[in-house]
Amino acid sequence: MISQFFVLSQRGDNIVFRDYRGEVQKGSAEIFFRKVKFWKDDGQEEEAPPVFNVDGVNYFHVKVVGLLFVATTRVNISPSLVLELLQRIARVIKDYLGVLNEDSLRKNFVLVYELLDEVIDFGYVRTTSTEMLKSYVFNEPIVVDAARLQSLGPASIFMPGTKRMPGTAVTKSVVATEPGGRRREEIFVDIIEKISITFSSSGYILTSEIDGTIQMKSYLTGNPEIRLAFNDDLGIGRGGRSVYDYRSSSGSGAVILDDCNFHQSVRLDSFDMDKTLSLIPPDGEFTVMNYRMTQEFKPPFRINPLIEEAGALKAEVIIKVRAEFSSSITANTILVAMPLPKYTTRASFELEPGALGQTTDFKEANKRLEWGLKKIVGGSEHTLRAKLTFSQESHGNITKESGPVSMTFTIPMYNASRLQVKYLQIAKKSGTYNPYRWVRYVTQANSYVARI
């Protein structure tokens, strides 16, 4: 069990503080914050690990939208349990408030206390299901204006403004009634994939993995049963010995996931037969399924980095990025970064003629080159040239002193694994009952790296 739970702002202020068992001293939030802020290992300043012990008190924390969700305990508890719990508390609060940030928390802290009392009693978890909590929580959320908010969490990449998606949905409270009275019947299914890939200096793929998650957020009344159908050629678990044996599955065309796990409401009775999941979605946002795939897939971008000496104390960098997906799809918020040799003093950039929405920067402090692109349309190729000036000779070690090139991006309506939701069936109550269904795909870079 846990002893205390609290939420701290980035500056270390208590936004919410709940002591369940009175076993840990009151000043724990301050002790925690100092420790996290000035974490050191071997005299080196580092990011604090999510779990640590100070004077017999164990502190657990997760970072959510810049806030620190913290739990303390004196007993030897399962760290996964507490960290999972903290994440769930954040999610429940988000379900209620629509938006989770410092402002909305401060405005709704009484509601949050009410939630916390029902989620945890005397340090033991009772429930973290928004569905169950609904009958015990009475405060109405004070909804914060979502338009001014920066993005939070993976699902928020479905930003307002995209025509095909209702922008407000993601930031809509699960419990608050709409101004118009009845709320809209709708359900969102988001397939979010994160790609990790490492290209060798010769451009071939060293490692690659897709970590996918299917998130669902239901605003349906009466909890009807839902069936999700995937591609017929979907398979789980690879027969081969080595999961990295790329040849074994390529060419067959099947989508083979290495492994996956499911929300406890999911039933897999007919999965083997027709690749469908059935579930009764609880209220609020939850993960239907997580999956992992190391099968070969076509990377959305190819990166060709090059660094060459150009005389004494000078070098030239050329980075080419090619989008290898269909031209109907557009990637956005792309950032390409490359560490340069320590002795680089200056970098001058040259973009391709007519480049729009591109930025370049040389970060003096950590000697990093950054190239930002607002958009990349499928099939296109972009190039950056940079001339570097050094303060000392490079002794021919230039490729060892720079790189690797890393890239972050978001590609809406695209997924690399080819896993697809073929249909989303809602058990019918009546002939006229036809709620909105939104099935959305997005792919993001997790660790997208090209070595030099």
Binding site: Q44, E46, P49, G56, N76, E84, V110, F122, T127, Y136
Partner: protein, 846 residues
């Protein structure tokens, strides 16, 4: 640099400093208290919110207690909740005023709305005021019988809260047995789960004073109870599932078919999206199959994929917690994960604490088939912008080199590091090359050629410098410049701040002198002179030693300083296998993340109910004067219970060894050791206060598994060693004893039978004390009454200060004595044990 400690109190617009605002609130609350005007609830809500927000940021609003209570007469449930929150927070400091709240809380406990009943009952039990407990018993009693599941859940937790305020009130009201009844019969799974949590806490804490409670606690682990919970597992919330699984871990199944039943039942829990459920399930699987080698290995194969999925889904914090557990499994059985090495490659954006774990895993799984790729990958990290990780990566390459047979390629890589011309890379690589040469002297030619090219001026880190100097001394015959480099280093003696480097310099110049005397003579003289004048004691002493050795006889000096060396075959592991096993036993807990067993970081009173506990803390140890007579202080009251539980174990455990209860299934050849481990496991259940069993059982299991892990060799008796004699006037102060007892591992644990004469003589603990003292074994604490006695003895070797510690538990009715021996010097613990036993066996003899 450090943040202001009182950051919260600093005045800022959003965080008022307090005083004025609080008195404002006070008067406003007063005005509203009696009002029945419409809309008054809304204004109250606003005021209450303010109070709660002050409370949150640490402003003391306890002075508003009276006003808050007056305002609480309302039917508005939101207001009620805020008021209860406030009352719960401040009742402890205002016990008198808290009495005021009892009335309306009690009334609400009888409300028609189950929500209000539950809420009021929860708040009532959260007051934490000792003199109000009499008011809790009634509402709790009816709460436990309430027809609403919600109220019953709250009431069960209420019982636990009551127990913490006043254990006797709770026990006297017979609440534990009501909870037991509810646990076995309630239809609401959450009520059952809460009963389980509450009973575990209550009975564990009661077990030290009540035999019945400790029996009840063991009853939780009985087959019917465990099966009842297991069969309902899907009704429980994911959190309660974790609770049940933690209980199942401690259950000892009868035979392998039972094990398979449990595993089949829990198989689908491995696909749960909640990592805590998956890890708890994995722990069950691992513990159940400990004695079944093949199945245990299958379990590893089975859990690999779910663990990897959890690592890559969820937040970075969650994946770190899972990765730590994957780490411990990889370290235990690296060969099972050797084909998955690519999963342990670091991603550029991962925090260092994740990368460090991954580097260790990569090091562990390296074998003949994947070493080349792993080392190639590690070399990429060596050029990393993250310097600590670059260093770790180079160390990892070195470790791989030291654990492999074929190091050709790796040596080349290491030598390339030396040429990278980054100071920290060079430094790390030098240290590694030194270690490598100690293990593979055959590589000296290749290495020395490269090392010789390094300018000592570019090496600044003491460790690296020391390594370079060591190589200069060791291989001075092959390094042309060695004497001259050493000479120039000695010239800068005064600027050398690290004593480690100066010590190495002295030794290196000596070695060099024996090989190339004419060239080194001058440097040696300078080094000895500088060393003799050194302010550092060790440096000075070493210089003096060398000086006198040389004076005495140069060839003797050479034999002392530069004898022919054997190549090192295995470098010592930093963590003992006992500690590793103990961490493994505590799988799915903080021990795994911290890589320490729980007794190193958890206070005694917070250690889990059924976990390892070091009972020395229970024994009060008397102060001892340094004289000859050791005043013996009786062991405190609760030690008696320890003894009771021990005797109980003997009574219940004794027959079951032969009987059917825990009879070990026969495993052909391995049946003996399987039975042994089975028995040990059983001991773990029936008597949680026997440390050492864990390590032993897992040792036996390791043997069974043949995991090839380094197992601490049993201290072999050395037949030729001189007889052990003990110091008859040994002295040890109690705190040292306690400290040592905690730190030292158990080197021996044995059971003797006590002779009938001994039993007869042991009317009081003092009798044995005097007897043992006659054999130079002193008692530091003792206690108990017939038939149970407990003693802590110590003894010291006659010539040195090497100490032995003994815990001795004697049950005169069964005529059995259990010994646990710890020793500074493990190698003589067998000899000591023999000595102890012979002294002990003479007890009661005429």
């Amino acid at each position: 640099m450090a943040p202001p400690v009182q950051s919260q109190r600093s005045p800022s617009p959003s965080q008022p400093s307090g005083k004025g605002e609080v008195s404002d609130l006070k008067s406003q609350l007063r005005q509203l208290a009696g009002s029945r005007a419409p809309g008054v609830d809304d204004s109250k809500r606003d005021l209450f919110k303010k109070v709660i927000s002050y409370m949150t940021i640490g402003i003391d609003v306890s002075s508003l207690f009276g006003e808050m209570v007056m305002c609480s007469a309302t039917s508005d449930i939101v207001l009620k909740k805020m008021c209860y929150l406030y009352v719960g927070n401040y009742a402890k400091v205002n016990p008198d005023l808290a009495l005021l709240t009892i009335n309306f809380l009690q009334r609400d406990c009888k409300d028609a709305d189950p929500m209000i009943r539950g809420l009021a009952l929860r708040s009532l039990c959260s007051l934490r005021v000792a003199n109000l407990v009499e008011y809790l018993v009634g509402p709790l009693g009816s709460g436990l019988k309430d027809n609403s599941g919600y109220v019953r859940t709250v009431a069960v937790m209420g019982v636990l809260k009551l127990y913490h305020i006043s254990a006797s009130t709770c026990v006297d009201a017979d609440f534990p047995s009501i909870l037991k009844d509810l646990m076995l019969n309630d239809s609401d799974a959450q009520v059952v789960a809460n009963c389980l949590s509450a009973l575990q806490e209550i009975w564990s804490s009661e077990a030290s004073t009540s035999e019945e409670a400790s029996r009840e606690r063991e009853g939780l682990l009985s087959k019917p109870n465990v099966y009842y919970l297991l069969n309902r597992i899907k009704e429980f919330s994911e959190w309660a599932q974790c609770l049940v699984l933690e209980l199942v871990v401690k259950y000892v199944p009868l035979d392998s078919s039972e094990i398979f039943d449990i595993m089949n039942l829990l198989e689908d829990r491995l696909q749960h999206a909640n990592g805590a459920v998956v890890l708890a399930t994995i722990k069950v699987f691992l513990q159940l199959t400990l004695s079944m080698t093949d199945v245990h290995q299958q379990v590893y194969e089975r859990i690999k994929a779910p663990l990897l999925t959890l690592v890559s889904s969820g937040s970075p914090e969650q994946s770190y917690a899972v990765l730590s557990h994957l780490h411990i499994l990889v370290m235990r059985a690296p060969f099972i994960f050797s084909s998955d090495y690519k999963h342990f490659y670091c991603q550029y954006n991962e925090p260092s604490y994740v990368k460090k774990l991954k580097l260790e895993m990569l090091t562990a799984v390296a074998n003949e088939s994947n070493t080349y790729e792993i080392v190639t990958e590690l070399c990429e990290y060596a050029a990393n912008v993250d310097i600590p990780i670059a260093r770790e990566s180079i160390r990892a390459v070195g470790k791989i080199a030291l654990q492999q047979y074929d190091v050709n390629a790796i040596v080349d890589r290491l030598l390339q590091f030396l040429e990278m011309e980054k100071d920290y890379v060079t430094a790390e690589a030098l240290v590694l090359v030194k270690d490598l040469l100690r293990k593979y002297p055959q590589w000296s030619h290749d290495c020395i050629a490269v090392v010789g090219n390094i300018s000592s001026k570019n090496v600044q880190e003491p460790k690296a410098k020391a390594a370079l100097i060591w190589m200069l001394g060791e291989y001075s015959q092959d390094m042309h410049d060695a004497p001259y480099i050493l000479e120039s280093l000695i010239e800068n003696w005064d600027e050398e701040h690290s004593d480690e480097v100066r010590l190495h310099l002295l030794t290196a110049v000596m070695k060099c002198f024996f090989k190339r005397p004419p060239e080194t003579q001058k440097a040696l003289a300078a080094a000895l002179a500088a060393g003799l004048a050194d302010f550092h004691q060790d440096v000075h002493d070493r210089a003096l030693l060398y000086y006198r050795l040389l004076q005495y006889n140069v060839s003797v000096a050479e034999r002392v300083v530069n004898p022919p060396k054997q190549a090192v075959s295995v470098f010592a592991d930093t963590q003992s296998s006992e500690i590793k096993d103990r961490i493994f036993d505590e799988f799915n807990s903080l021990s795994v993340v911290y890589q320490k067993p729980s007794y190193m970081f958890i206070d005694k009173e917070h250690r889990g109910p059924l976990e390892f506990s070091d009972e020395l803390g229970n024994v009060s140890i008397g102060t001892e004067s340094a004289g000859t007579v050791v005043p013996v202080v009786p062991v405190e009251a609760n030690d008696k219970d320890l003894l009771l539980s021990t005797s109980e174990k003997e009574e219940s455990g004794g027959p079951s060894n032969n009987g059917s209860a825990y009879s070990a299934p026969s495993y052909d050849a391995s049946s003996v050791s399987a039975a042994a481990s089975q028995t040990l496991l059983e001991l773990e259940i029936s008597n949680p206060t026997v440390p050492g069993h864990a390590s032993q059982s897992s040792l036996a299991i390791d043997d069974l598994l043949g995991l090839g892990l380094p197992v601490a060799p049993a201290p072999a008796p050395t037949p030729s060693s001189p007889p052990l004699t003990l110091n008859s006037k040994a002295g040890l102060d109690p705190s040292t004893f306690q400290q040592k007892w905690r730190q030292l591992p158990i080197s021996l644990s044995q059971e003797y039978s006590v002779s009938p004469q001994g039993v007869a003589a042991l009317t009081a603990p003092q009798a044995l004390l005097r007897h043992m003292q006659g054999h130079s074994i002193h008692c530091i604490a003792s206690g108990g009454q017939s038939p149970n006695f407990k003693f802590f003895f110590f003894a010291q070797k006659a010539e040195e200060s090497s100490t032995f510690l003994v815990e001795c538990v004697i049950n005169t009715s069964s005529a059995k004595a259990q010994m646990r021996i710890k020793a500074d010097d493990q190698s003589v613990s067998e000899a000591f044990s023999a000595l102890f036993q012979s002294a002990f066996s003479k007890f009661g003899m005429p």
